[in-house]
Amino acid sequence: MRATSDVELGRIALLEDLRNAEKTWEVLAPRYGVTNPNPPWKTSLTAMCECLSASGALPALDRRRAEDELADSVYREVPPPERQLLALVHVMLSRGLVSETDLASRMRAVRSRLESA
């Protein structure tokens, strides 16, 4: 199915694997006694959206339209900060700005790096 924003609304396997409700910030933060309302990656995500828009790679209005459509469909049950992240990556994959294979590979590398620190 194709939405009016031109984003593919089909589910993406890599992102589906990440949909763990037990790992969202609204669950994790109280578990660790953290009162910051946003996860540590939220500001970076906002900046990334601005950068993509500034460079013309993904205009803000296109992203917000797609985000709305994905929030009402594929990621309806996901809370806001995680939903915004998943929606952005969904759009980037849908537009071919990054590939699912590259992203999966890079995620393994990033996790390995963070865990070794």
């Binding site: 309302p37 540590p40 906002t46 700005l97």
Partner: protein, 250 residues
């Protein structure tokens, strides 16, 4: 759950510790996609750092200062109404930051909407989530929801009542729809009981929600608290009424 916010704290309370002691897939995903985007030349690490720094620097305290100064300095208020972007420089806010021409999401055109005892403004972005970020910081999550965006323009009194703001019928409600070419901010009426207050005292009661228009400033109220329950006492006679819908028209 209630959402609270105090003006002057940069838009969201930030705490250095304690931290969540585990690495989530979401954190990994954000880093991974950013690294790939930089490698693919979609943007640079330096640009990302600049936007991150700017994002962390903005908050509603700037808007509070602008309102307090406008309340106490008629000449400044006149300049705000004439050219708000220019007047913002007087309180240390340059809409051209961080690139020299603003951000892609903050078009450099701001109009300040002055409330009167018989006219109340409230802002929305029906298209997406346009918001005067250099003055108010990042928009609250509820401002971005389709629920707020779709309903405010049709049933403004109903939606305002859900924020606890019940306006008398003689007060006209005007909804202003932000767009990619213009941002809006509300200049509320200075409340009674603040006649001899300083600017610093005044800016403490100008919360973010007062500048969106879903709350009114009042002495002693220095934080926004949002009920998530729908108002049990809806505005009299305005349930989906033509009158309410008409008031939402711009």
């Amino acid at each position: 759950m209630n959402h609270t916010h105090k003006p002057g704290d940069g838009g969201a309370e930030r705490h250095a510790a304690p931290m969540v002691e585990e690495i989530t897939d979401f954190e990994v995903l954000e880093i991974a996609v950013r690294e790939l985007a930089i490698e693919h030349g979609l943007f640079t690490a330096e640009d990302h750092r600049r936007f991150t720094e700017w994002t962390e620097s903005i908050g509603p305290a700037a808007g509070s200062r602008l309102v307090a100064k406008a309340w106490t300095d008629p000449a400044f208020k006149a300049r705000v109404m004439e050219d708000a972007v220019q007047a913002c420089k007087e309180i240390g806010i340059d809409w051209a930051e961080p690139t020299g021409f603003g951000t892609p999401s903050d078009y450099m055109n701001l109009r300040v909407l002055e409330d009167t005892p018989t006219l109340h403004h409230v802002i929305v972005c029906t298209l997406c989530s346009c918001y005067p970020r250099p003055l108010l910081g990042m928009s609250p999550e509820w401002y971005r929801t389709t629920n707020y965006r779709r309903r405010l323009v049709r049933w403004p009194r109903q939606v305002l009542a859900e924020f606890g703001l019940i306006l008398p019928p003689e007060v006209e409600v005007r909804v202003e729809d932000s767009n990619q070419k213009c941002r809006f901010m509300v200049l509320p009426v200075r409340p009674e009981g603040t006649e001899n207050w300083t600017e610093q005292q005044l800016d403490q009661i100008v919360t973010r929600d007062c500048m969106i228009g879903v709350a009114l400033p009042r002495p002693g109220k220095t934080a926004d608290v949002h009920p998530v329950q729908k108002a049990r006492r809806p505005v009299q006679g305005s349930e989906h009424s033509g009158e309410a819908a008409h008031e939402g028209d711009k």
